[in-house]
Amino acid sequence: MPRIHFTPHLKNHLDCPPQDVTAATLREALEIVFQANPRLRSYLLDDQGHLRKHVTAFIDSTPINDRVNLSDDVSRAKEVYLLQALSGG
């Protein structure tokens, strides 16, 4: 059962603490998370349901393969980490 973590910025802004989910794919995992926090969806996904361009997901510290369908297997993962690339400096 993976624990879903959000980049600290999203965590503070949208109040989304780490959450344990039971899911087969990344898409299923995110849908569970969006049920509890619907505002997160538009921060992470575009209107076609793909990961936004500046968002990346890591499964056990390795980048996912499928940014479009989010089909990566998370069933045996310990951690899924959602990251937004930062522009400031």
């Binding site: 600290p8 802004h13 930062l86």
Partner: protein
């Protein structure tokens, strides 16, 4: 020890650097893109460390709101409205006369970046927007010069070192700049000084490794920190280049360097205004953008556009649903592009 090296004695005592590493550092040349928060910390650290030649390019002037975190500037620089690179190099000269400083007041774009990168061993990212970072990424792939990315917001930051055509590049991680209006920036969500200093210090450590002959000790990782939560994470990018099928580093696409990507500006003659258009038309979520901008100024909105006047400023941005903006209060395209990047985001 040679007299010129005495000032670096503590750094030379650090075994991986030694006298040989210090000599290599002195023979090295660096391009620093941007002289703001990250840039001033990088410039000061590398000048003290004894880099040979430091070329610094920035388009901006020193502003009062910079002083909280941009460590080379003071109130006098604000009063004199000095260009950042000029104010910075005055301080840097007094810190270490041995370093050759080359301050350049310019807006980095696809027409000049290769000239700025000519003859350097390393490019450091001290910028504040993705358009320039993607341009640096293209220039790095084109020239073979490594570069070090860092980005930050609030108490949070991330960095990675890119060895072109060897390790994952910025586009392997993220194919395009974010759509306008979808990200927060330091101007809408704030930034802590220590976030920047820590990130810039990490960039400098990576730079020291590369410039003193220890590039092989840099792992292909994206490092993510949060200084408020005191967390530190490293994500492996080891095989990302092989599996990302990246248009830039696998297929040679240079969208930003060719000028095909990147926002366009048009000076609106006689109106003291500039229009900034993103490279592709988009549909902005104006409600979400209004929510973000509310912390930074006054907002007026209707279903078609959003008017945003910066707090304590005559500058006004009229942002249209298709991503276009008219920046009122300047006729300088670089200033308008900077304001767009800071408030609408790219």
């Amino acid at each position: 020890m040679n007299d010129d090296l005495k000032r670096y004695s503590r750094q030379i005592l650090f075994a991986p650097i030694g006298e040989a590493g210090q000599e290599r550092l002195r023979a090295s040349r660096v391009l620093l893109c941007g002289c703001g928060a990250l840039g001033t910390v990088i410039a000061e650290t590398l000048t003290r460390a004894g880099v040979g030649h430091l070329r610094i390019v920035d388009r901006d002037f020193v502003d009062l709101s910079n002083l909280q975190r941009q460590v080379l500037f003071d109130e006098l620089d604000v009063e004199e409205r000095l260009p950042k690179v000029i104010a910075a190099s005055q301080k840097l000269k007094a810190i270490n006369h041995q370093v050759t400083l080359e301050p350049i007041v310019a807006d980095i774009d696809h027409t000049n970046i290769l000239e700025f990168a000519r003859g350097v061993d390393l490019i450091l990212d001290g910028t504040d927007n993705f358009e320039i970072r993607f341009l640096i990424n293209d220039a790095s792939l084109e020239t073979g010069i490594p570069w070090i990315y860092a980005g930050c917001l609030g108490s949070h930051g991330q960095f990675m070192t890119i060895f072109p055509n060897q390790s994952a590049c910025l586009r392997c991680l993220m194919d395009q700049v974010p759509d306008p209006g979808t990200t927060q920036t330091c101007d809408t969500a704030g930034i802590l000084g220590p976030t920047v200093s820590i990130l810039a210090s990490f960039q400098c450590v990576e730079a020291l490794k590369i410039l003193t002959g220890h590039a092989d000790e840099i792992e292909p990782m994206l490092t993510i920190i949060d200084i408020w939560q005191t967390t530190f994470r490293r994500m492996s990018l080891a095989d990302l280049r092989d599996r990302a099928d990246c248009p830039a580093c696998q297929h040679g696409e240079r969208l930003w360097l060719s000028g095909r990507a990147g926002s366009q500006t048009t000076v609106l003659c006689g109106r003291n205004a500039v229009q900034v258009s993103p490279s592709e038309r988009k549909t902005l979520d104006l409600d979400q953008l209004a929510e973000r901008l509310a912390t930074a100024g006054e907002i007026q909105a209707n279903p078609f556009l959003l008017r945003f006047r910066l707090t304590n400023s005559e500058t006004e941005l009229t942002i249209f649903r298709d991503g276009r903006a008219i920046v009122q209060g300047t006729d300088d395209a670089a200033v308008a592009k900077g304001l767009y990047a800071r408030y609408v985001g790219n």
